[in-house]
Each structure stands twice: as C-alpha cells, then as structure tokens.
Amino acid sequence: MISLKKFLKKLRVESPKWISAGIINDSQKNSLLKFYEDEIATKKKTLSIGLPAIIMGLAGVLLCTGIIIFYAANWRSMPPTVKLAQIFFLIILTYGISYYFLIVQNSNILIGRIMMMAGMVSYGAGIALVAQIYHISAHPTNGILAWAIGALALSWVMKEKWGLYLASALFFIWNTWELIEFKNPNYFYIVVPLLFSYLFYKVRGSTGVALMFFAAFFWFYQINLHWIGQIHNNDIETSSLVILSLCHIPLGLIIIGIGWILKKNEILNIPAVIITVSGWLALCVPFLTLSWPIKLPSQYLVFQSGTVYYSIELLLLLAGVAGVIYSLYRNNLDVRMHWGGFIFTTVVCVLPQGNNTIILAAMHVGLFAFLFGLLDFYLADPGRRIERFLSYFLFIAFLVIKGSGLRIIAGAENNEYFIAYCIGFILYGVASFLVNQTVQIRSDNRGYPFRPNIINAACAFAAYFIIYTLSFKVDDQNSVLDAAPSVLFLIFLLIVSSLALYIYLWMRSSNKLLLVLSGIIFFSSSIMLFVSGPGVSWIVYSLLFNILLFVATAIFIYYSTRINSRLLLNFAIAGFVLHVVTRYFDVFWDLMSGAGLFIVTGIIGIAGGWLLEKNRRRLIRNMDQSLGGTA
C-alpha cells in the first residue's frame, strides 16, 4: 500500500489528465486534492510530538536516573533514617503530584505521567536503599521482583503504558537473573508475557505486545535449555536436541497462524508482522540444524528413555497446530503450509529419526517442499507480502548457509571428500534452481506475478563460486562411493529429483535454453563427482574444473545476450576476469621476479581490459539493437 503522501503526489500528476479526459472537472479536482491534503495535515498533527513534550520526557528520564544515583551514592553525611524518611516522602510526593494532575485537575497529563514514573522509580530506589542500609545481599532478585510487582499493580490500575514497560522490563530482568545466577527455570514466567500482552493491548501498546511475544519465545528456550542442562548422558542429550529442533516446525506454524489471525486486528497488525516473520524463521530451524551428516544415537528418538518430556512437548505442539488449522479455516486463511508442516512432522515422528540417512533425506525433502510452498502458495494473495519477501530471502539464505556449511565441513574435517562435498552443493543449487523454474511455470500458467531471476541469479552465483573454489589445487581424494551411506543416499536423492524435475520442466517449459545450459553444469558436475577418487592427479581435477569454470562463464555470457541482461553480462565478465587473473598469478607468480611480474601483468592487463571492454560494449550494442528491433 502506498503512503498517503505519495498518493497525493500521484493525484496531482494524474488529475489534470482526468480533467482532459472529461472524467472530473476542475472543482472536483480541487475538492479531491483538498480532501487528501486535510487528511495528511490531520495525521501529521496526531503523530507529531511537540518539543515541550520531548523536553519533559527527557526531564522525566533524568529525574528517575537522578533518584537512583542519589540514593546509590550512600551519602556519608546523611544518616540512614533520614534517607528512609526522604524516600517515603518522595514516593508520597510524586504519587500525590501525579494524582493531582491526572485525577483532580485532569490536565497536564504528561507531567502527571512523568511523576507517576518517578514514583515507581522512587519505590525501586527505596528497595535498593533498604538493601543498602541493612546490607542485604541474599537473593537480590527478590528486590527486583518486589519492584516489578509494585510497578505492575500501579500501572494496571492507572492504565499507564510507560509503567507497563518498566514493570515488564523488571520482570524480564528478574527472570533472566534467576535463570543465570540461580539456575531457576522459572516455569511460571510465561504468565508475565501473557498478562502483559493483554494489558498492553488494553492500552493500545502494540510495541509492548511485540516485546511480550519475544519474552514468551525466550521462555520457551529457557525451559527447554534448562531441561537439556539437566541431562548428563550424551546420547539422550543429542536425541533431546533433535526432538527440540523438530519442535520448531509445529511451533513456527502455531506462531505463523497467530500472526495471520492477529493481522486483522487494528492494534496488533504491526506486532502481527513481527510474530509472523518469527514463526517462519522458527520453522526453518530443523532444516538448518538437522540437514547435515550428524551422528545420532539410535533408530528411534521420540518417546525413548530420557526423551519423554520433549516427545510430549512435540505432541502438544502438534495438537496446537491442529487447533491453529481449525482457526485458520474459520478465518478463511490458507492452511496448505500448516497441513504440510503437520503431516511432515508426524511422518518424521513415525520414521526412525535416529537413522542418519533417513533424517538427512527427510530434512532435504522437507526443505525443498517448504521452499517450494513458500514460493508458490502465496503468489496470488496480495496480503502475503511478508511470505513473498521471505520466499526469496530464505531461498537465498539457505543457498548461502548450505554452501558455507558444506565448504566448511569439506575444508575442515573431510578434506579427502572435498570435491564430493562441493559438487554436492552444486547439485543442491541445481535442485533449488529447478524448484524455482517449476514455480515459474505454475505462476505463468496461473498469471500470478513472480520474479524468477532473483533466485536464478543466486543459484548461478553459488555454482560459479563453488566451481571457482574447485579450480585450485586439491589434495588426494577418496572415491565418493566410499563416503558414508547417508551422504551417498543424499547425492542419489538430489540427482534423481533433479532428473525428474528436468523431465517435468522439459515437457512444460517454453524456455528450454535455460534447462539446457543448467543441464550442462549439472551433468558435468555429476560426472566429475564419480570421476574423482584415489589415483587421480590434482592436475586432472584442476584442468577439468577450469574448463568447467570457462564453460559456466560462457553459459552466463551467452544467456545474458539471450535475455538482454546487462547486469548478468557484467557479472559474467567480472567472473571471467577473476578466473583469468587467478590462473595468471597461479602460473606466473613463481616464474617471474616481483617487478617483472607486475610490469608484464600491467601490460597484459591493459591490453586484455581493452579487448574485453571492446567485446562487452559490442555485446551491449547487440542487446540494444535486439531490444530496438523487438520494439
């Protein structure tokens, strides 16, 4: 939705055309402009915070800080009884002034509210003062709790939004302190965000509701991590972490559902956005954590010895998803993703989750299904802008995470499977690209807006980056066939799924060129995967991957001319230059002296640059001519 200001600007441009077309007359135009100008002015007035209010607000903060610091200083010349008398007097005075302005006079509301806050802070200072005078240091969180309860009680009665912020912050400090210092899981802390959400809602404090959502989220982790902290058995701890990770799917779905339902609420539509985004991010957790080759302790993890709490939690969350699906139905909202997540989690619960091959395959199938759903399900709905943005963002984020993760594993732990891991990532990138193409065909058929090139470009960049990594010298490699069964099965799954998608897309797609070009990278990478192994010299790898890198660059340049994309052309040429420069220095660094190398490089660079730029310009000219011809 465009802002009112932008709309008015557009109206000013468009309205003369409407007059010329005889749709409206001059007076109607003026009335329309005046109507929106007035609306903007009113909105400005409502939103604007006057300078005096800002100064008074700052003064209030200074006053409260001053009170705290004054009593913390523990003035030597002031006996404790005098200090206690002062603090009692201060509490009564500040609340008295507040009462006078808010209730008796019902004017100078801001001063009244500032005085009320000063009173609440004085109360806190009073608690600290008593602790100071009587040297109380046992369980200091009790003082914070007493302060929080006092602030809450008054804020509740007076419907004071600032006081609610103070009280909720104090409760949060109390909870975190209890958790860290005294290892108290604080099961009942959840009451605080729930109660405060209600209170903030009553005073139209949407930011407060959003903050309370995060406090509730924090509570979820504090309870679960506390439980895990109590486990002193590695196998049970790993199993519990796997189930906790799985819990994020139903948890995310519940949060998304709540976000969608709250979006309809006038006060909560902004927190609803934050809640929805958090839900989607939570949903990604198991795909991020469980889609790697990890060692798991047994065949079944759910409802095994030591995992009962987490298993019950998972079941309760699944029941919660069922409830959310019902609510979404009633609100005529899309439930496809919720059903998908519900079924997927249930299936994973039934499968032997401790089998690394099964969990790895399940998580990748789930990940691609999730990304496909996120891209495809919400294209037609104009109210699902968050999902559309996240579909691109998460697609690319997973590409980056998978690429970096596999690269790290390959480099750090499994150097003998370096090529296998890197090509595994190329296969992942190709599969991502094919999913994207599938969504494009579906969106074209249905006439929905979709921008496939964002993800296409990300996949192309990822493939280029990994092939570039492989074009350097690599250590001796093991055969991929000697890799762990889970890794082999995953590679098999990626190849078979990609082939199936190629066949599907070949039959449906009108843009077969892109399929052919991506197919070249896919097939040559797959062949390289099985060629690598013991006895193969690094020179063979280097030669083949350098050829593949040139082929990839040529593909990108060729495709850029076919789709007339200057951006892609520039990136492809930059990639080409990077490749040539890298190889040049690889070869000549040891052969020439420093000065000679740089002089020769400079001369070659100038000549090469000139040639390259000449050809780049020619290609762009061809693109422009082709565009002109088309037009």
């Binding site: 523990n74 509490i91 608690i127 602790a131 046992a138 369980h139 007493a146």
Partner: protein, 166 residues
Amino acid sequence: MQIAVLGVMIGNRVCLLDTGVKVLLKCEPVDPRSLISGDYVILNYEISSLAKDIYTGPNLNNLKPNDTVYVALEKLINKKYWVAKSFSTDYDTLRKSYPVIMRGTIKDTYSTIRIHYGIENYFVPQNQGLKIEQKMDDISVEISVSDTGESALSRLFISDREVTFY
C-alpha cells in the same frame, strides 16, 4: 501498597537485628567492588568455605549449587569468633545439638563446599571502600541470627574497633 512493602522489608530487618543471637565472625580479605547501586565491600568469611567432612546430612554427593543448607555455629572457649561445627540440609537434626544455626545457599561444590549467607556485601558510603580494603586482614563482623537461620549484618569491626560512617 508500595509503602507497605518497604515497611515490611524494614520491619523484618529491624526485628532480626534486635532479637537475633549476636555472632562474631572472622573475615578473609577480598577486594572491595563498586557498582552503580552503591559502593560495597565483599566480605568472605571463614564459614564461607566448609570442609566436606563436617557435613552431617544425607548424601553429600547430591549437594549442588543453589541448594539450601544449614550451618551450625559454635563459639569456642576462650575464643572470640564463632566457627562452623557442622552443616546439613536437615535443619531439625542440627537444631537438636546446636543453638545457633545459619541458613545459606551452596555456590559450588568442589574440594570444599562454598556457601553464601546473604551477608557478603557491606555497603559503605561512596569512596569509603578503600579504607576497609587497606585493613582487610583484620576485619570481623557481628551478625544477628534468627531462630529460623536467617542472618543479618549488624556491625563491622576493624582491629576490634567498630566502623561507623554516620
């Protein structure tokens, strides 16, 4: 309500200081610290670290941080300071043999059991911590201990002379 809360806090302390058994404890030096909430000196007592062999409660190995324990104090003949004679998680058993019991919370359980009693901080006027720091080797405090084991700091001594700031 807020005034009442403060009143209860003060009343509880005044009552404890007036009626509790007065116990003199020897301190061990620890550097003073200063926080925004006011300067204070951290006091570490001889009874803050207890040997495991004076534990008389059930299952010593089950003791863990944040557990509540009770420490029996006794004043030795011809000695100034009170010392820990025994400790346990069971208050009633200790109470039968010892008149003064202090309640504490376990901080850690390594070679000795480290216990906090809630009397480790002595708040001092701003910039006065240094004076105490210089005499750390010769500090003792008087505390009041209630029947339930609750304790409160009443007086601080340096070389047997009470430190007063007001």
